[in-house]
Amino acid sequence: MNKTLLVFKKEYLTRVKKKSFIIMTLLVPLLFMLLMGLPLAMTFFKSGTNRIAILDESGEFAGVFNNGKSLEFHPIEGNLNNLKEELGKKDARFDALLYIPKFDIQYPNGFTVYSDKQVGMTIQQTIEKTLQNKIETLRFINAGIDKDKVNELKVSIDLQNIILQEGSEKKGNVVASIAVSQIMGFFQYFMIFFYGGLIMMAVTEEKKNRIVEIIVSSIPPFQLMLGKIFGIAAVAITQLLIWAVFIVLLMVLFSVFFSPMLLETAQDLEQVVGSNSQQIFDMIGSIEAFNIPLMLFSFAFFFIFGYLFYSALFAGAGAVTDDSSQNQTITIPLSIPVILSVMIMVNVAEQPHSPLAFWSSLIPFCSPIIMMARLPFGVPAWQLALSMIFLVIGFVINTWIAGKIYRIGILLYGKKINWNDIRKWVFK
């Protein structure tokens, strides 16, 4: 056991000290920060106020355009062609020119914004919305309908989903559930492939460099394999913890320094898009309604055992791989269940409680990904427990099988290994 610990230590330390590990560990939180900060930065560095001149030949739009935080509207008189020439000049009185021609109320067209650069979304949408509003009002008047009355009669339904569980009520939100489900599922998928690949490379490297014969004369192959698997698992967990700490830290910083700005942006957004912000707040609220401790625990559990389950197989695969022959293909069947899981995962978001979702969240080959994807939608405790038990049993069986393959495979060179050979090694 002492020697397993030595292998564990060596695998762990050499990897954690590697430049690539440090870079990746730091890069991911940075990317995360960038992803969160970019929209904010964009509003922060927004270029002042846009002045928009309105040349209104229809005469219908006096006082209709209201100045916003970043938009100023000025009615202007003059000849369109002369005004157009003013655009882009240093001493121009405006950044863009909105031209409203005389129009037919039945077929309104010909509205144009002239600018020397592409106008932004905000300008485009604000102007479109204002124009539409005004023309609608005009049409209502023409038809003899009171617009205020119509607005009064309008209705907007917001369907709430209350989940009844163990006597308590929780507000559900399908969008939030889907988002959390897919993010967790994909993360599992990524980690299994990344770290599974790492263990395979570690095994193949030892085989390729012919170190393995010296090592197995000091330590039984099975112990060597365990040392490797757990050593690399520890690397994965270290990385995950660093990310978690970074991300929590960033979120705290974020909410302290940037949330006032965030609120402003939300209000800006509201001005443009309409009153969607309530939905956004609802969504954020419903994330808090998830059973977060359970989710975190399950995530950690499925992450660790999902990795262990697959890493045993990847270690076995690494042992039969040797780049001189075509043994590489032997690893393909390993990636099939992982890829299949991702395909099922997308389906799970639509039907989280279908038989497909149920069964695939129990089978250890898919459960690390599928169960994580199902969890935000609520999974009965017995299913979660069963899935966990199966995964642990699967890990033990896999390690036993991989140990047999590993023991023989690592010392074989230049021989083409087929499935029949592997079957013999395992069941001999």
Binding site: T14, N209, E213, I214, S218
Partner: protein, 308 residues
């Protein structure tokens, strides 16, 4: 002399080949034991069983070490495999420490031994180099150090000189001789007979998983001697056969004498001195190479006979 290693009816089969065919063997303590045989004879299979890398199908393997404090026999064996390597991205110092600890050494003892060996080879400044920065020959020196770093009683070298330049070969040969002098037992596997003659005092010849010859090197050479002598002389022989001695003249004053029957040196000298004046006299013993080829061919012929 006590045997440090004994094999009893050791047997190992792979799918279609019998790699080790019910072998009995005793390796005397303190000997330099040459394990000889053509490629694919079963040398490496046998060594892998001794080093606990593979398990035998049947048979017994026992060690008798002086130092009974080391409980795991694996920690008292040093092994330099034929196929060998190092971790390319690990520093030499760290690597040696890892391997030493894998053989049960404490961190402090590992450090002490590493210093000793690096100093002995005058390569202290390599400790902080990565293996991939070293040439192949340099790496082989490190691999040699890996096999002796834990000061084991039994050393197994599988083709230790393959790929080494003459200078490093000599250096390593000297180390092996020194290790032997300090009381280590060395099993030395090779198909390079000349090296065996220089270093070994016991040999076993293995072919197709069986021993076809084993024993003390001197004794074996005597067993296969063909009563040939080389003489240098003044004068001339009257004819090519004198009293049971066949004389083949190589050049003026230089001849090979074959004794047709067993006879003592003095008898030979006395007989020949009647005709010429002898000033140099050497017995020609067969080279191991000759014995090896002869025996392997013989075994092959016997087998074919069996088949017929």
């Amino acid at each position: 002399m006590d045997a440090i290693l004994s094999l009893e009816k050791l047997h190992k089969e792979y799918e279609k080949v019998v790699a080790v065919h019910s072998i009995d063997l005793k390796v005397p303590c303190g000997s330099v034991f040459g394990l000889l045989g053509p490629n694919g004879a079963g040398k490496t299979s046998m060594i892998r069983i001794i080093t606990n890398i593979t398990l035998p199908d049947s048979g017994k393997l026992s060690f008798h070490f002086q130092n009974s404090k080391i409980s795991d026999p694996m920690n008292n064996i040093g092994y330099l495999p034929e196929e060998r390597g190092l971790y390319p991205e690990m520093k030499i110092g760290e690597q040696l420490k890892f391997f030493a600890q894998m053989k049960g050494l404490s961190a402090a003892k590992a450090h002490e031994n590493i210093q000793y060996w690096l100093k002995r080879f005058e390569i202290e400044d390599w400790a902080n180099k990565k293996a991939q920065e070293l040439s192949k020959g340099m790496q082989q020196l490190i691999q040699f150090i890996v096999s002796v770093i834990h000061d084991p009683e039994l050393l197994i070298f599988d083709e230790p000189f393959s790929g080494l330049d003459p200078i490093n070969t000599e250096r390593l040969k000297k180390e092996i001789v020194d290790l032997s002098k300090s009381g280590k037992t060395i099993i030395f596997s090779t198909h390079q007979m000349s090296q065996v003659e220089e270093i070994c005092n016991e040999i076993a010849l293995i072919n197709k998983g069986r021993f076809i010859l084993e024993g003390e090197l001197k004794e074996i050479k005597n067993r296969f001697k063909k009563n040939l002598f080389e003489i240098k002389y003044h004068g001339s022989f009257p004819n090519n056969e004198i009293n049971g001695f066949e004389i083949t003249i190589k050049e003026e004053g230089h001849a090979i004498v074959k004794s047709l029957k067993e006879c003592s040196y003095s008898n030979l000298l006395k007989t020949l001195s009647d005709y010429v004046e002898i000033y140099s006299f050497t017995e020609i013993l067969p080279s191991l190479n000759e014995i090896f080829i002869e025996q392997v061919t013989l075994a092959k012929a016997n087998k074919e006979e069996e088949h017929e």
